[in-house]
């Protein structure tokens, strides 16, 4: 139950995953939320990177070494996907805000396109990174 000790009326909650049938638009929505939380961590990692750079060569080498470790690379791979998926999702939402793209088939298609774009852009980015000897 929502705590109403302050006299606040109960506010609606989001439906949880278990009461939804899996579907592309719903999957995009929950994926977007997951990506947002992942990017929140990514923004903290970015701020930490700047702090390590400012702290000097040794601190920077340690921090980059941490990011270059297997777990670090896995995190960065996830962040790459999250960044590109959110770029696509934001563009999709902007059309929604203009009242366009709500037809079920259009929404399905743009959702699939957002995921496809994120997958392709992530692969391209990491292929380029591999090409310049980043890992």
């Amino acid at each position: 139950m929502t705590d109403t000790s302050r006299g606040l009326p109960e506010r609606p909650m989001s439906p949880h995953l278990q009461v939804w049938r899996w579907h592309i638009t719903m999957a995009c929505s929950i994926l977007h939320r997951g990506c947002v939380v992942g990017l929140w961590v990514g923004a903290v990692i970015l701020a930490g990177w700047a702090a390590a750079l400012a702290a000097g060569p040794d601190a920077y080498a340690s921090y980059v070494g941490l990011l270059g470790s297997p777990i670090g690379k896995l995190v960065l791979l996830g962040e790459t996907f999250a960044v590109f998926f959110n770029v696509a999702y934001t563009i999709r939402q902007t059309f929604w805000d203009a009242g366009k793209g709500f037809a079920p088939r259009t929404a399905d298609m743009t959702g699939a396109m957002a995921i496809a774009f994120a997958v392709v852009a992530t692969i391209v980015t990491w292929v380029i990174a591999g090409g310049i000897g980043a890992f």
Binding site: M1, T2, D3, S5, R6, L8, R11, M13, S14, H16, R33, V36, V37, L39, W40, A43, V44, L46, A47, G48, A50, A51, L53, A54, A55, G56, P57, Y60, A61, T80, V83, F84, N86, V87, T90, I91, Q93, T94, D97, T125, I128, A129, I132, G133, A134
Partner: protein
């Protein structure tokens, strides 16, 4: 009173509340607008960020410092970090409000989210400026 009248929200609102346009939340649609506008700013900034990350990923400390000393890089990276944190603070707050029921837990997480975002922004921008403004031999 006809059934149609019952569904007219105006009858429950005073003219003053309509003029203020703040709704039940008392902050109107500012949260929504903040998320959308920061999201639009981030679309080009994050693509630049991915490009910049690829350029610097193999670079040693002194090369990255020289890169950061370029005003365009220091400014764009600061903008990327600030826009991202503004956007993510709003976005994560919505996730917290949607899934956390208990008032005290929810409030603690919303405030903690704000504090972490502001701290990351302060540390990040200070560090960028420190590197950009104290580098010697920058061109």
């Amino acid at each position: 009173m006809s059934k149609k009248d019952l569904f007219q929200p105006q009858q429950f609102r005073t003219p003053l509340s309509r003029a203020r346009g703040m709704g039940a939340s008392r902050h109107g649609v500012s949260h929504f607008i903040t998320e959308r506008v920061s999201g639009l700013a981030l679309a080009p900034l994050t693509v630049w960020g991915a490009y910049a990350a690829l350029k610097q990923v193999r670079a040693p400390h002194d090369v990255v410092v020289q890169w950061m000393a370029q005003p365009v890089n220091a400014v764009l990276l600061s903008l990327l970090l600030i826009a991202a944190l503004v956007h993510l603070q709003s976005a994560v707050q919505v996730v917290i409000e949607d899934y956390i029921e208990r008032f005290t837990t929810k409030t603690a997480l919303v405030i903690g989210n704000l504090f972490v975002c502001v701290l990351a922004g302060a540390v990040g921008v200070f560090s960028i400026l420190k590197v950009a403004l104290t580098v010697t031999g920058a061109h």
